[in-house]
């Protein structure tokens, strides 16, 4: 047969050209796809800052595309916690709460909207949980001294504690909603916001970070944690629960996103006197450190609520079912056995029992 319409050499040229073009196209596709991936994968920086505030260490870890913005956001978040400490601490004479403690029995004291709100919510928790959460434990915390530099070092005096309990009742606080003032109905009443202020500070610090465009962060305030967004590698933040009797070990870990994990433990501040462990979480009804628990953890999206609930779980122990409706909890009781609900069991990676 004779192919006259296309000479042989021309076929070869076309074929060469064609295969060349295909190669070039393939190559360019590879190069361009590489470029596209490179552009999509934004470099993110992970950085942390820590500061001693509210008698504990606050540590913030932030994931952001700009070092400067991340740093700035952490700085303002820590400053916000410092500001809250300067309102709520009763270990500093200059704070608003110290002024209230000194004057609220003598005359009604006008409060800033922030402190008025915080005390209002505290009293609501007290009412809701039958006084097992109470901010008037000031005289008791002073006696035990765990939050100061001089904790108790002799056997506690039962008679003295009984005396002090007379000043512990949230009903001695009267709030006036018309002019946002506070007054104490009994002389010697003292507010200690230590049980709630840290949770509030965590919530406020998270808000500051979000307002500054940071959505991936973890704040740890001495065992109470808020995790937002994801880690730098795109995975969820991992929060662990410490073994109360061996702090080197974790009894469980969980992956969390946009939520708070709050823990109360008898291992953070305690004193062993004559073989008995006295720790800093009191039962406001007895005036003594609550027995029956070593540690309690709850997972709640709002840290203020979280710190209150973890303490209640710690103090109330067996009665936890009454007030924790569907909130994941993990409790290690006085004997060291683990009690957790189904919601928590689903969240936990290790230490299932």
């Amino acid at each position: 047969m004779n192919y006259t319409f296309l000479p042989n050499n021309k076929i070869k040229i076309y074929f060469k050209l064609f295969s060349g073009v295909v190669k070039v196209l393939l190559l360019s596709i590879i190069f361009y796809s590489q470029n596209i991936f490179a552009q999509n994968e934004e470099i993110k920086f992970e950085m942390s800052a820590n500061k001693y505030l509210m008698g504990t260490e606050f540590m913030i870890t932030v994931v952001h595309k700009s070092i400067d913005s991340g740093k700035m956001a952490m700085y303002y978040a820590l400053r916000e916690i410092e500001r809250i400490e300067n309102v709520t601490s009763n270990y500093k004479d200059s704070t608003e709460i110290s002024y209230v403690n000194k004057n609220a029995f003598i005359k009604p004291v006008k409060l800033t909207p922030e402190l008025f709100g915080l005390i209002t919510r505290s009293l609501d928790y007290s009412k809701m949980y039958d006084g097992y959460f109470d901010i008037t434990v000031g005289p008791l915390t002073n006696y035990w001294g765990f939050n100061s530099d001089h904790p108790i070092d002799t056997e506690p005096d039962k008679k003295r504690i009984k005396e002090l309990l007379k000043f512990v009742d949230y009903k001695y606080i009267k709030l006036n909603f018309d002019d946002s003032t506070i007054s104490f109905l009994k002389k010697g009443v003292e507010i200690d916001l230590g049980g709630i202020a840290k949770g509030y500070a965590l919530d406020r610090a998270s808000e500051v970070l979000r307002k500054r465009g940071v959505n991936d962060f973890l704040i740890n305030g001495g065992g109470d944690v808020y995790a937002s967004g994801r880690k730098a590698d795109g995975n969820k933040w991992v929060v662990g629960i410490k073994d109360p009797r061996n702090n080197e070990n974790l009894v469980a870990t969980m992956e969390v996103e946009n939520t708070g994990v709050c823990t109360s433990g008898d291992y953070e501040r305690f004193k062993i006197i004559n073989g008995k462990r006295y720790h800093h979480i009191f039962n406001p009804k007895t005036g003594f450190p609550a027995p029956g628990s070593q540690s309690s953890t709850v997972v709640v999206d709002n840290c203020e609520k979280g710190v209150v609930l973890s303490k209640l779980l710690f103090i109330r122990g067996e009665n936890y079912r009454d007030f924790l409706n569907g909130i994941p909890y993990y409790e290690i009781d006085g004997e060291g056995s683990i009690i957790l609900n189904v919601v928590m069991e689903k969240m936990i990676n290790e230490g299932k029992k």
Binding site: F45, S48, I67, D68, P151, E248
Partner: protein, 212 residues
């Protein structure tokens, strides 16, 4: 060759011309950092400029893809400021190399007028996958680095804090608090330092001990 053939052929050359320099460039710059451990440390008195330069360097993709850790600590005392680049476990001699990364590092070093002895400088560090072996144990007080301990230097280190002494026990790439002159002794109960990222905090002494 007719006009159509010529166009096709020239198109091919054009495309090749666009790609070849890229290939050549990637062959010339032999330093590939992606996924490898690295640590880029700058001790400087000009933090703002250094942060900007490091950020540019990283976002240009010179430190590979993926997230990068950043840390910043002031150091007390007179310290030699410099730029140190460690890749894998090796110190990179970028001053005598001419690849892309080395040239850029030299430029950053020049812009920051390093090396130079600086009073109370700031140490910035970009790093990834710091690995499982401790390279340094850092002691910071009130957020300022006051001493650096080699993890191999076994012994007891006495650190002076606000409320007294703290004795740090360093042995076989492992550190823990042996004793502290404070009331609560929480630092003694805190877990020990075994790998980079671990830390011990003594609140009354305002000491923060961490491993890199």
């Amino acid at each position: 060759m007719d006009r159509r053939d010529f166009l096709k052929a020239s198109g091919l050359f054009l495309a090749a011309g666009m790609i070849i320099p890229k290939v050549a460039k990637s062959m010339l710059s032999n330093r590939v950092i992606s996924s490898e451990n690295f640590s880029l440390e700058v001790i400087t008195g000009n933090t703002d400029l250094a942060v900007r330069l490091l950020e540019e360097f990283a976002t240009d993709g010179e430190l590979g893809k993926g997230s990068i850790n950043y840390s910043e600590y002031p150091i007390s005392g007179d310290v030699m400021g410099d730029l140190i680049f460690v890749q894998g476990n090796e110190l990179v001699d970028y001053t005598n190399s001419y690849d892309d990364v080395s040239l850029k590092l030299k430029e950053i070093r020049n812009k920051l007028s390093l090396p130079m002895i600086l009073p109370n400088p700031v140490r910035l560090r970009l790093y990834r996958n710091s690995g499982s072996t401790i390279k340094k144990i850092m002691v910071a007080q009130k957020g300022k680095i006051i001493s650096r301990i080699e993890p191999e230097d076994t012994g007891f280190y006495t650190l002076h804090g606000k409320s007294g002494k703290l004795i740090l026990d360093v042995k076989n790439n492992y550190a823990r608090v042996k004793d502290a002159e404070c009331k609560h002794k929480i630092c003694k109960q805190m877990s020990s330092i075994k790998k980079p990222g671990d830390y011990i905090t003594c609140i009354p002494n305002e000491l923060h001990i961490f491993a890199e």
